[in-house]
Amino acid sequence: MDIKGRKRAFAKQKLDSFLVNPYLGAVNQKMKSTKLSFLAFFFFVLLNYPLLSIADKAKLLGGLPVLYIYVFSVWVFFIGLVYRIVNKK
């Protein structure tokens, strides 16, 4: 076998061992779980006192209540992030 071919075969073997590695899936899962837990905690802070109170004013911003804008945009952002994390390969 030539050098290139050998290199290719080696890379393939490495990839295969990666794919069939039973622990890799678990590691990935754990990584995702950690990320999601952190995300939940971070947004829990964003959506609670004291940060919440910053937006909690009876004022309009561009015709919409400030708190309404704040809560719903953080909410949308949160859903987007969760979507990205769970769908990451």
């Binding site: 678990a26 779980s33 909690d56 004013k57 009876a58 309009l60 015709g63 969760v82």
Partner: protein, 897 residues
């Protein structure tokens, strides 16, 4: 005002549609079912969380307290990503242990304890039935409202059909009985019911969005318009914020509370865990469910504000703004849609909760009572499976009956929201026992039991008792001054604490005592063996699930006929015998002998668990076997052994497959060798035959002419040469094949290489008057290679080209550099090579084996050797050709530094 007949008609049509959907799905083929059991249906079914309380009550709450109502949906939103691992673990446990209710989950974790399961069942009944009656109230209120001429509910004004709540309760009972009590296995999934619930989720969302769009863009001129007009009114401006008394603490605690509820409420548990068909659906639920919550909430504030502007002064109940607005504007179709939406929200909740609770009733109340009595012993022919189904049906009727009674006599005194949150707090009491049970091995039965009882007691004392004051059952002094005038025990201000609203207050103190006792008692008491075993399995489920079948956590003596008769209670004799035989075959245990294998006993217990719950299954199995306790250390040994066995098995399998592969390859090579030998001997025989023939002629005819003699000798000489060439080529090839051939690398100018190769065939080419063109670019191109070997290749290719090109043809030799490659090519204008042979010509003796195609002009080993040499240089050789238009042999070599 709409005619009551119309409403009744549409409600009946809607219910018929639900029946139809569930019925069609249940009867559909497996192929179609895979869609119904997909992730979208799963996520939509979880939206059963949004009941009539969400549908009507959110607007009501927003119209009184402003954006604070959102906490109930923020909590579940933030919790839902955690489902990916939390629910995954619970689902995995429930599938392997065949657990079908939340009560069974807790009881199973803490040693399959019967009293724990029964207590939790009673507590779930207390917590959830008022919630069901709340749905009945919502349906009946909205019905009264939509048929009334002045948007005001007249209590007790029953339409033509009598009591709406009762009718709805009966319809729901019918639906639940039809779609949930067809089979005894409670772990059997009810796909029809799930799809019907998902459908209801779509209807309620659609109805809500329709009103939202109508209010925002038709009544008003977009969001900005609604808000800026409401801004003028100070009392409406206050709804833009959460700054109420206890605003932020309520927000925090209620978010936490509803997050727990969205995970553990019996109906959520039923749909998320029991009805789950594929764990990967959780992945989609983590973002689809929050998205649903967001959509159903986005118009709540605009609707509440426009209701506030439309009905100023507190004449109209905010709970029903969503219905009042279309009626005020005389939008009858929209009002009808809203009514159906609210109806969907209520019925989906009623159906799922009723099914979940009825399973708990039959498995944790009715069955244990029967097993505890000696009724079965006196009546050996008693049909257990019919008893089970009937108790489930009875459970459904009892639940809906009690819910109706509660609605009729008590719930008229509440608004929609309070009952919902009271129910949440009761279910939250299960959280410490469940979460602790999943991750903390030391948590034990006594801890769980004391925590639960304390939590429920505080819940009852601080929320349920005060709520009964309005109905006159409890004296108002009790709330105002505390029992017997003891201020420190005032139900809404325990220990004199006044900083929380009643719900938060109850949630905080019940959880404090619940969690505290769970941890403290667990740390200070000892769990028995059964409990420790279950704790080990629950906490490490991902490690043990695969070996559950193989590792019996059971010691004792049992007989196969006894096992059969246990299953026969529910499946009939034939099916039970088959089940046991199949299991025996699968696990390679003998089913012939009288004594049952421990694996079989464990299997029977698991199957029974799926039908009657783990605690009852335990009792039934224990009644027919003689067993010994399994210590935790033994359990660990058993599990470890079977795990090692499994690993060993896997190892063996891998070794076996490798061996098979090697064997296969050897056989292949053997065949190749045989083939090669046959061809070589055949090739050798041809020249030898002619040598022998001519030498015989010479020997037999000494009087031959000199010319003839010369001619024959020349042939003999040529054939001998051919023979030795063939032999040296075979030897050559063998060297390459075995890898013994080494290259003598040196720096070579490509132009020189080509020129020298051409020189050695020049005379042949001149004979046929062929034109030879050489093109090397760049001129000074040099390569590191074995010059002799590469010349051998080129000469071979060139002489082939000369052989196959007709007189006067053209042969082009070129060498071009492309990036890090050098492409050498030899192009002729011969007859070309058919596409199907272009790869085969590089095989050994290909030409020889295909003598019908063309007359042989060589040994048939030349190209095979060429390929070997080129490959040894790390390059490739191939041929490009169109038949009739010549052939080009292309050698690609890589320049390596």
């Amino acid at each position: 005002m709409l005619s009551s007949w119309l409403i009744v008609l549409f409600s009946l049509i809607y219910l018929a549609l639900l029946f139809f959907i569930a019925y069609r799905v249940e009867g559909s083929k497996q192929k179609k079912r895979s869609f119904f059991q997909g992730p979208v249906v799963y996520a939509l079914s979880l939206a059963v969380f949004c009941t009539a309380w969400t549908f009507y009550g959110s607007v009501g709450k927003a119209s009184k307290e402003g954006l604070g109502f959102l906490a109930v949906y923020i909590g579940p939103t933030l919790i839902s990503p955690l489902w990916l691992f939390l629910l995954r673990k619970i689902i995995r446990i429930c599938k392997t242990q065949r657990i079908t209710t939340i009560a069974d989950f807790i009881s199973s974790r803490y040693g399959k304890n019967l009293s724990l399961a029964s207590i939790i069942t009673v507590l779930c009944f207390l917590g959830v039935i008022p919630y069901i009656s709340l749905q009945l109230k919502a349906i009946s209120d909205s019905f009264d409202l939509i048929i009334s001429p002045d948007f005001k509910m007249k209590s007790g004004s029953y339409g033509l059909i009598g009591d709406t709540g009762l009718i709805v309760a009966l319809c729901m009972a019918l639906f639940s009985i039809v779609f949930s009590t067809r089979k005894v296995e409670s772990n059997e999934q009810h796909t029809g019911m799930v799809v019907a619930v998902a459908f209801e989720s779509i209807i309620k969302l659609f109805a809500f969005l329709a009103v939202g769009v109508y209010v925002t863009w038709i009544l008003f001129d977009g969001f900005g318009d609604v808000f800026s007009r409401a801004f003028v009114f100070p009392e409406l401006r206050n709804l833009f914020v959460v700054q109420q008394q206890f605003g932020y603490s309520d927000w925090l605690w209620i978010a936490l509370l509803s997050g727990i509820a969205a995970t553990l409420l019996p109906r959520q548990f039923q749909l998320a865990v029991v009805e789950n068909t594929d764990e990967s659906h959780l992945k989609h639920a983590t973002w689809l469910f929050p998205l649903y919550l967001l959509l159903i909430n986005i118009f709540v504030l605009p609707i509440a504000l426009s209701g506030g502007m439309m009905f100023p002064g507190n004449g109209v109940n905010g709970d029903y703004f969503i219905l009042d607005i279309p009626m005020q504007m005389n939008q009858k179709a929209l009002a009808l849609l809203v009514f159906i939406g609210g109806f969907a929200a209520a019925t989906s909740m009623i159906i799922v909760d009723t099914i979940a609770l009825s399973t708990m009733f039959s498995n944790h109340i009715a069955m244990p009572v029967l097993l505890g009595s000696d009724y079965r012993i006196k009546n050996p022919l008693f049909d257990l499976s019919r008893f089970l189904l009937n108790s489930r049906r009875l459970g459904i009727l009892v639940i809906l009956g009690v819910a109706y009674a509660y609605y009729h006599y008590i719930s008229k005194y509440y608004s929609l929201v309070s009952v919902g949150l009271i129910s949440f707090v009761s279910i939250a009491q299960l959280a410490p026992a469940i979460i602790g049970g999943l991750y903390w091995k030391k948590g034990n039965k006594k801890g769980a039991l004391s925590g639960l009882i304390a939590g429920f007691a505080i819940w009852f004392y601080t929320l349920v008792l005060p709520s009964l004051v309005g109905s006159g059952i409890i004296q108002s002094d009790f709330v105002q001054y505390g029992p017997w005038g003891i201020e420190l025990l005032k139900p809404n201000q325990l220990f004199g604490f006044t900083g929380f609203s009643p719900i938060t207050h109850a949630f905080f103190f019940s959880m404090l005592f619940n969690l505290g006792l769970y941890v403290l008692v667990s740390l200070n008491t000892k769990a028995d063996d059964k409990e420790q075993n279950q704790a080990e399995i629950f906490v490490n489920i991902f490690k043990y699930e695969k070996i559950m079948d193989a590792a019996p956590v059971w010691k004792g003596q049992a007989s196969i006929p006894d096992m059969e008769s246990l299953l026969a209670n529910f499946f009939g004799e034939q099916r039970s015998r088959n089940a046991i035989r199949n299991f025996s075959i699968r696990n390679q245990i003998s089913s012939e002998q009288e004594k049952a294998d421990p694996k079989l006993v464990a299997y029977v217990e698991r199957v029974l668990s799926g039908i009657i719950g783990s605690a009852s299954a335990r009792i039934m199995v224990a009644s027919v076997v003689k067993e010994e306790e399994v210590k935790l250390a033994e359990l660990m040994d058993i599990l470890r052994e079977s795990q090692q066995l499994m690993l060993l098995n896997r190892e063996l399998k891998r070794a076996k497959s490798q061996l098979e592969l090697a064997n296969h390859r050897l056989k292949e090579m053997d065949e190749l060798k045989d083939d090669f030998l046959a061809t070589v001997t055949h090739e050798l025989r041809t020249p030898i035959t002619s040598i022998r023939a001519f030498s015989e002629i010479l020997f037999d005819n000494p009087e031959l002419e000199l010319d003839d003699r010369q001619h024959y000798l020349q042939i003999i000489n040529k054939e001998t040469e051919r023979l030795s060439r063939l032999l040296s080529q075979v030897l050559d090839l063998e060297k390459y094949d075995s890898g013994k051939q080494k290259l003598l690398l040196e720096e070579v100018y490509v132009k020189e290489l080509i020129q020298e190769s051409i020189n050695s065939i020049k005379s042949l080419a001149d004979e046929k008057k062929l034109n030879l063109l050489v093109d090397v670019d760049p001129e000074q191109l040099n390569l590191i290679l074995d010059k002799d070997k590469m010349m051998q290749v080129l000469i071979n290719l060139l002489s082939n080209a000369v052989k196959f090109t007709e007189t006067g043809g053209l042969i082009q030799v070129s060498a071009l550099r492309r990036d890090d490659q050098v492409v050498l090519s030899v192009k002729d204008t011969g007859r070309g090579i058919e596409p199907e042979y272009q790869e085969l010509i590089f095989d050994k003796f290909f030409q020889a084996r295909n003598q019908t195609i063309r007359k042989p002009k060589g040994s048939g080993l030349g190209l095979a050797i060429c390929r070997k040499i080129v490959e040894l240089h790390g390059g490739t050789i191939e041929v490009l050709s169109e038949p009739g238009k010549g052939a080009t042999f292309v050698i690609t070599l890589f320049i390596t530094d």
